[in-house]
Structures are given as structure tokens and as C-alpha cells.
Amino acid sequence: MTTNPRRNLANRCNALKSTGPRSASGKRASSQNSRKHGLNSVPDFESSSEYRALVDLIAEEGFSGFACADIASSLLNYRRVMDAYYDTYTSPEPVDEFLRDANMKTSNPIFSELLSPSDSEPQDVREMAAFFASMQRQERRKGGPVSRRSSDTHKLIRYQRNGIARLSRAVRQG
């Protein structure tokens, strides 16, 4: 891993020229980039062993067959949400310390030097620097690890609300 700021900045500039993955495996990997928690997918609880064990357990408490199935799947769904909540909380998006701490004023000459061999116009240098600055602003706005995990878990509130409402309804109507 490089620690040289010039090298790091050069790598960043080259990465900006990238037009995305070309190989099939690269495309397959990047197709999963936006997948965060998987809570929008439809789960198949009925075929799991946990579901059957839970249905048997609840059936012994005198609930009807339909109520047992409803309570078991609601409980498993709630657990799925809470597991995703825990995973999101424990693995927030990492802080890009280089981008966050880079001093743009001292970076401008590096930009000029990096771009000058390829006969770039000063306009290109300014655009590159502006793009880098906007990325830096975004990175700083996200804050540190605690801020990131707070905003990441905050996105799961609606899943939690729906999950617990479904569970509560299933138990009370059972």
C-alpha cells in the first residue's frame, strides 16, 4: 500500500479515467455494488429448518395452523431485519482518510504537474481539481465511522417498523 501522497493522487486521477468493468467477472462483481442489506428481496422461510422448528414450537401453545405459520414467518422476518441492522451497524462504509485529509491548496500544483505531460489545458486541471474537491466535500459530509454507521442504520428504520408491526399483528390475531 502506497503512502506517498503524490502517488496516491496520481492513482486517483487515473482511476477517474476508468469507464467501468469490461470482463464478465468484473461486471458480475460490480452488479452487486448497490446491494446493501438484501431486505428488499422476498425471503423463502417455509423451506428453512428454523421455520419448521418454530411452527412446531408455536403449535404446541394452542395457536391454529395458519396463525403458527404467520407468527413463525413474521418472527423470522423480524430477525432477518435485525440481523441486517446489526451487520450494517458493525460494518459502516470505511472512511477514505486520504481524500478527507488532503489539502487541496497543496494538491493543485501536483494536479498541474500530473496533467502537463499530456498537453492538457489549464481548464482540464481546474476541472480535475474541482471534481476532486467535490468528492472531498462528499467524503467529509459523511463524517467519521460513528456518523456513517448512524446514517446507514437510519436507512433501515422503515424495514424495522414494518417487521415489528407484522409480528405484533400476527401474534395478537393468532
Binding site: E50, A53, L54, L57, I58, E60, E61, G62, I71, L75, Y78, R79, M82, D83, Y85, Y86, Y89, T90, V95, E97, R100, D101, A102, N103, T106, G143, G144, P145, V146, S147, R149, S150, S151, T153, H154, I157, Q160, R161, I164, A165, L167, S168, V171, R172
Partner: protein
């Protein structure tokens, strides 16, 4: 009747409270804790909640363990609010101090963390005090500014805590409903038994009348 039979097998009245949570399926009862959290503390919270119910059924135990987890999340998020403040304080200090590019935010953040809990080395204390002097700030000024700076994220954490409270209300209602149902079944069993004994007593009297 099935209900009562099951009760005497899995969640016996004589069964100690700690065994009741263990009788549950492992995927519902095993907690997911952070490396620095104490499982004993988590379990003691669960036991104290379980001890408030007379004879919790397995489903009630499952719901109580979810409730305990919600309480645990509230604790975590409350700690996070303070950490957010520390994070913002470190950010403001690094802007104010001269070490913006040098040591970076992480080192300063760690030094501030130690400084606030009183375990800072001399170097760390010097770095923090120098940064405070550079920014012409006191620690309480810094805290006030940090609160303003981190307000958006603190509001998010408040929302998360509020959500856990709502979740607990839902779980509490569900547990009440199971408890009510079990009481109702017990009462019906008792009434049935009373009716049967009345009926048999009546039958015995009729037989006596006939024989006399």
C-alpha cells in the same frame, strides 16, 4: 389441553428462569454482541425481564429476548450520541489546529478520546491543548460547537432510539396478548373442571335418589 401438556414439558413451573431462555431455539436466543460488550450483562437483563412473568411460554420467551435486544440497542445508540460529539469535536479541533494534514483526524480523535476520559499521555494532552490554544477555544466551547456540527447525525440516532421504543411497545403488547390468552385458557380449563365435578356430583345424587 395440549397447551397444558406442553407447558409441563418445556417450560416447567419449577424450571429455573435461566433455563427458560435456553429452552428456546438457538437462533432466537443467542445474542449478537460487539467485541467489547459483556454477554453476562446481556443475559442478566434477559433474566430480570423473564422473572417478571409467571410462566412464560416459549413464544413469550422469544418475544422477551427481542425486547431485551431492543433495550440493548438503546444503550448502544445512547453511547453513539456521545461518540458523535467526540467525533465532531475532533473534526473541529483538527480544523482549528495546525495538524490538518500532518497527523490526520484519526490520531487527533484518539488523543481527544483519551483526553476526555482522563487516560491521555503527556504527548496527547499537549496535542489537544495546543489545538485548543490555536483555535482560541475552551473544552466547553468546543463541545457546544461540536453539538451544532453533529446535530444532523444526533437527530438520526434519536430517531433510532425512538424506533427501539416503538418496537418495545409492539413487543410488550404481543407479550400481553399471549399472557392474556394463556390466562383465558387456564380459566376455561378451571371452569370446565368445575362443571365436570358439578355434573358428577349431580349424577351421584341422582343415583342415590334412584337407589333409595
Amino acid at each position: 389441553m395440549l397447551y397444558n401438556i406442553h407447558f409441563s414439558i418445556d417450560v416447567d413451573v419449577a424450571m429455573p428462569v435461566e433455563d427458560k431462555s435456553k429452552s428456546l431455539l438457538p437462533f432466537l436466543s443467542s445474542p449478537k454482541l460487539l467485541p467489547y460488550e459483556s454477554e453476562a450483562e446481556f443475559q442478566s437483563g434477559l433474566q430480570s425481564l423473564l422473572s417478571e412473568l409467571d410462566n412464560p411460554s416459549p413464544l413469550a420467551v422469544a418475544l422477551i429476548s427481542q425486547l431485551n435486544e431492543s433495550l440493548w440497542w438503546i444503550k448502544r445508540h445512547t453511547v453513539d450520541k456521545e461518540l458523535l460529539l467526540h467525533e465532531a469535536m475532533a473534526r473541529l479541533l483538527s480544523k482549528a489546529g495546525s495538524n490538518w494534514m500532518g497527523s490526520g483526524n484519526s490520531a487527533l480523535s484518539l488523543a481527544l478520546e483519551h483526553y476526555l476520559d482522563g487516560s491521555a499521555h503527556k504527548d496527547e494532552t499537549d496535542v489537544i491543548e495546543e489545538a485548543l490554544t490555536d483555535g482560541n477555544l475552551t473544552l466547553s466551547d468546543l463541545r457546544v460547537r461540536a453539538f451544532k456540527d453533529a446535530a444532523r447525525h444526533i437527530k438520526m440516532v434519536d430517531d433510532l432510539i425512538h424506533r427501539q421504543h416503538q418496537t418495545m411497545r409492539h413487543l410488550q403488547r404481543s407479550i400481553d396478548s399471549i399472557d392474556y390468552k394463556s390466562r383465558l385458557i387456564k380459566r376455561m380449563d378451571l371452569e370446565l373442571a368445575a362443571l365436570e365435578s358439578k355434573q358428577s356430583a349431580k349424577g351421584a345424587l341422582t343415583l342415590d335418589d334412584k337407589s333409595s
